[in-house]
Symmetry: C2
Subunit: 198 residues, 2 copies
């Protein structure tokens, strides 16, 4: 029965083309402009075909959240690999995180901004855990190796600082100039690292 195998492959390709179409619309017009009808038209099929692959629009969004966290994790990993010093690693990760948020605005916004209703499901997304582990491993090293409750606390602090910097900057409430933004980032991370063993 090589038939079912080929069919599965076609199904997979169709699903991929749906995500590709959705991504194209998202990057050009933003996530709110992504509609099932537009996707259907782009892939050359009728509307309900999309529902053969995704239960609803939120399921498509969840796929993007997953993908976003993979990209973010990869960026963090690449940054980390550039140094062996854990403190330096954290600084590099911070810069990479900030760069990701600003150069992948659409991704970042659905990962955090619009993901609010998905509170419960968020914990089930493995990619978020992976991203966390990358940072935690550097933190552990910096703190001396043992994995204390302190490490969890510091991870939350670190992530919160990064998210705050990125998102405040994204909505541009106070219009800080470009050079200042980089300094804010370094300032915050500096304070974080200096206070790492308290």
């Amino acid at each position: 029965m090589a038939v079912t195998e080929r069919r599965l492959k076609q199904r997979e390709q169709q699903k991929e083309s749906i995500l590709e179409a959705a991504r194209a619309i998202m990057l050009k017009e933003g996530w709110p402009a992504v509609s099932i009808r537009k996707i259907a038209e782009l892939i050359g099929y009728s509307l309900p075909v999309v529902y053969n692959h995704f239960e609803n629009k939120d399921a498509i969004m969840e796929d993007f959240i997953r993908h976003g966290f993979i990209l973010l994790g990869d960026a963090a990993l690449a940054a980390k690999a550039q140094s062996a010093d854990p403190a330096q690693q954290l600084k590099l990760i911070a810069i990479a995180y900030y760069d990701f948020a600003l150069s992948h605005r659409e991704y970042y916004q659905i990962m955090f901004g619009l993901g609010v209703p998905n509170c419960d499901r968020a914990k089930e997304i493995a990619e978020i855990g992976r991203f966390g582990d990358i940072i935690i491993s550097s933190l552990k090293q910096l703190q001396g190796g043992e994995c204390s409750p302190q490490t969890t606390l510091k991870f939350h602090t670190f992530w919160s600082i990064l998210h705050g910097l990125s998102s405040i900057n994204m909505i541009n409430l106070t219009a800080a100039p470009g050079e200042l933004q980089q300094k804010v980032l370094q300032d915050a991370i500096q304070g974080f690292i200096m206070n790492i063993n308290n």
Copy 2:
């Protein structure tokens, strides 16, 4: 011509009842559930009446953003008044900010989460500036009185940290327990204040 005066008063009351209706729906079912039709039904008028007071739905949202920043500013002001020491003031403001975000989730979310498309208009909202000033005045004191570019930088850092803590917590990505959250806040602010003169 006391007629026009009375009419203006009625208009104002109508507008207020629209906002009240919108607020009621928002608090019960969240902002996305707020629709013009529901508002119209709640105030006992037909649908287009709402458009006599607000150009579109975004205008209603902007009103909520304004109101939210007033509430946030008030909370910050009340917290600040509890101490004369600027460092202590910042800590109190931080706690108040965090409390506001969590106890006024719906407000906070439209103030930051969904306000993304309004980048340009954000700068024109005076209430945001007011909120900033409250914090900046404490920062200036702590730094010795002069208003250097440093102060602006520190203000951005402070706000970013607070926003990061609040919003990361709100979407609850990693499910930090309640006691830990408070510690994360204190940890981050501690690091910030210790690094204030660098």
